[in-house]
Amino acid sequence: MDISIRIGGAAGQGIQSIGAALAKFFCRSGFHVFTNQDYMSRIKGGHNFYQVRISELPLSAALDEIDILLALDQNSIAIHHHVVRETGIIVYDQATGTADFTEPASLAIPLALVATEANGTKIMANNVALGALLGLMGQDLAGINDIIQQQWANKGAELVRQNIEVAKAGYDFVLNHSDHRLAIPPPSTKGYLLLNGSQAISLGALVSGCKFYAAYPMTPSTGIMVNLAAQAKKHGIVVEQAEDEIAAINMALGASYGGVRAMTGTSGGGFALMTEGVSLAGMTETPVVIAEVQRPGPATGLPTRTEQSDLLFILYGGHGEFPRVVFAPGSPSQAIALTNKAFDLAEKYQIPAFILSDQYLADCQWSYAELDTDSLTYTDYRLRNPELEKLPSYQRYQVNDTGISPLAIPGESSHLVVVDSDEHDEDGHIIEDAATRNQMVEKRLFKKLRMLRKEIAAPELIGHRQPEILLLCWGSTYGVVKEVTEILEPDHSIAMLHFSELFPFPASEEFAYLQLLDQASQTISIENNAGGQFAKLLRAETGFGVSTLINKYDGRPFTTTNLLGELNEFLG
């Protein structure tokens, strides 16, 4: 069973609340769910859709073909009716649309009328639609009551009761007016949870001891700030909306200097403003975690859409030379783990650490049986009392074998903590002499990089162990490439190599992936950008040039359907 439901309408029509309720319903019922969103940069009007894919098997991507289209306006019918499968159905309201075709099947429901006849109000029409969708899929409606209860709880018991009634009316309407049913087998007994990339990065920050988050709102990164703000009181986190991204990163650095784990988040344009602050973190050796949730550029680009076009920017953003780590999780569960690792390495090595996400990862929900916390770590690397106070002297930039100087907290002892954006001596004071400069570059950059390289995990290989065709990907394309690999593997010698830890670039000692690349007859880098930035990085770091690039730069994510289509010509 593999069912996709697309809810289309204008911004402000509530398609997100219908989609979210539907996803939650099936997840709790014991189905795997994958959701993705396509929305415009406007609050009202235009055209948005929310897609929910349901299966008994784990899902990691979206399809282009759908089984049910819920069209809340005529525009949605016009745009999407051609992707509804022959066996599928279009549900619409005759007050807002017409279906002037015989295939696929369609069902008109006067949503507002059904709502008012069930003693509800017109505004509850969305729950009529929700009930109708569950009717078409032959579900037991009882499970929706809790979800409606949660959605409407703060509006009072009476409204909750009315909305439940209204959903029932939508459900009954389908039972009475349509024989169309989608075959859905009974679910497994166990329910799943739903997690999107924004929530995952927030959870990762929270579980890593992040105590301060400063940011300036920017789609699609704002979700992280919203989620952390919701947890602020419970977990003792200060979340501050800065006046701009420059302030945001400098506040994070000030807080980190003050002794707390600190983070900021933004999208490409905001990160452009942060770059001097990244360089400041590099020079002052102040730990900081930066989430960059990419959207298509240049400039304002497509503000609510997706792209992987800031990889090289993140690798090199910031003047001067200093170490950093860059992680690009491929799924929400990876996002938790890598955010945790970013905080750990940022403090261990006193460097900026990056989480590279994008709109697609940020907004897509994946279903999980449970979230793994066993592999998460927390180590406080700071030099605190009583050890700090006992030292006869303290130098913030003490030169030693590791390049990692003790990180003390100002005010905690009688020792002074002096940091400087100028080149400085071991005490943190301004210098200009060549010998000290060389010593500091050696300490700050070379010594740390040598150790950092050993922290980086190898890329993940999925599929054939000695593949003829090797698909290369990084970050958020993990799920779709994985699904495509799994579909093709029975008939082809194919595998995928996913890079989630991008910098320092993974060494080939632990896992000789370069050998796999050399032996494959086709190496295809699949990237949600125009320039093949990962392929360039791979070449720069290893000298290996891929044979083919598959790029998508229309602001939309790859789907299983379109990636299979793109790969077709290479399969032979």
Binding site: V207, A242, M251, L253, G258, G411, D422
Partner: protein, 286 residues
């Protein structure tokens, strides 16, 4: 050994001989001694410019960051440690030019930060270009036809934003006892305290010289009421033949960090992270 210049002895200053910065630095050291503030008990956050080198020339915790970014770093530090005395030291280009937006919002937040701006009406470190407070139409190498923009009135700006403490000092010898009092008042003020300190630049400002200021500067009279915002706005417009100094405006406003409940008992930096509780949040996510 207990004199101010011994206790707060720092690096050897790289300022020009005769620079007004020396007098501000020494006044600050005296204030710290008189207030009993030990070197490890305070942090100076600065940006870039001649003034921004000041923390190196005393003995203290220091974050010498980027040009214009003094106040965001100072704010972050206060979020992390609301028991730390945080002084922000900047120049007129640093604070009013590059960091102008941060100044607006730092005043709005009203965090417990003491901002001392060394205002010599010119760029010193980059050698004599017009600053936001340069008098029109002074010609410079980068403005050969004169600095044409209206000079910023930092006091008027701060008062318009209802900054909770707005003062002007003068770094000439005659103004130092007064500057000492202003700095102490700023340190004791609850909230954001801002002192614009007039100083000479011996190398690049040939108009607003030490003598130019000395002839004009006077202290606001004893009967002046700094609680009167309208009067403050009027008096801060006075510039030219006579230049008033003193506390122009002071009011009580909620201090930003005091309104954050989780900071009420223990500074963030001293709060122990409960890893197990945080893991439960992940485990319990639904």
């Amino acid at each position: 050994m207990n004199s101010w210049d011994e206790i707060y002895k720092g690096q050897r200053p790289a300022w020009c001989p005769g620079c007004g910065n020396f007098a501000i630095l020494n006044t600050l050291k005296k204030v710290l001694l008189e207030e009993g503030i030990k070197p490890h008990q305070f942090t100076i956050v600065s940006g870039i410019g001649q003034a921004a080198k000041l923390p190196h020339y005393t003995k203290c915790n220091t974050f010498n960051g980027l040009h214009g970014r003094t106040l965001p770093v100072a704010s972050g530090l206060r979020f992390a440690n609301n028991q730390m005395l945080v002084l922000a030291v900047a120049g007129d280009g640093d604070c009013y030019g590059e960091g102008g937006n941060h100044l607006l919002h730092a005043i709005r937040r009203n965090m417990n930060i003491k901002l001392f701006v060394h205002n010599n009406q010119v760029y010193g470190l980059t050698k004599g270009q017009a600053s936001p407070t340069t008098t029109t139409p002074t010609p410079t190498k980068t403005q050969p036809f004169g600095a044409l923009s209206e000079p910023l009135n930092p006091l008027a700006l701060a008062i318009s934003l209802n900054c909770s403490f707005v003062a002007r000092g003068f770094a000439g010898a005659s103004g130092l006892p007064h500057l000492n009092k202003l700095m102490k008042a700023a340190i004791h003020h609850k909230g954001f305290a801002f002192i614009d300190i007039l100083q000479n630049c011996v190398s690049f400002n040939k108009v607003n010289t030490f003598h130019w200021y000395k002839e004009r500067v006077y202290q606001l009279e004893g009967s002046y009421d700094p609680r009167d915002r309208a009067a403050a706005f009027t008096r801060c417009q006075e510039w030219g033949d006579r230049i008033p100094t003193g506390i122009f405006y002071q009011c009580q406003r909620p201090v930003f960090e005091e309104q954050i409940e989780i900071l009420n008992k223990t500074p963030l930096t001293k709060q122990i992270f409960d890893f197990e509780k945080a893991k439960q949040e992940v485990n319990g996510f639904s």
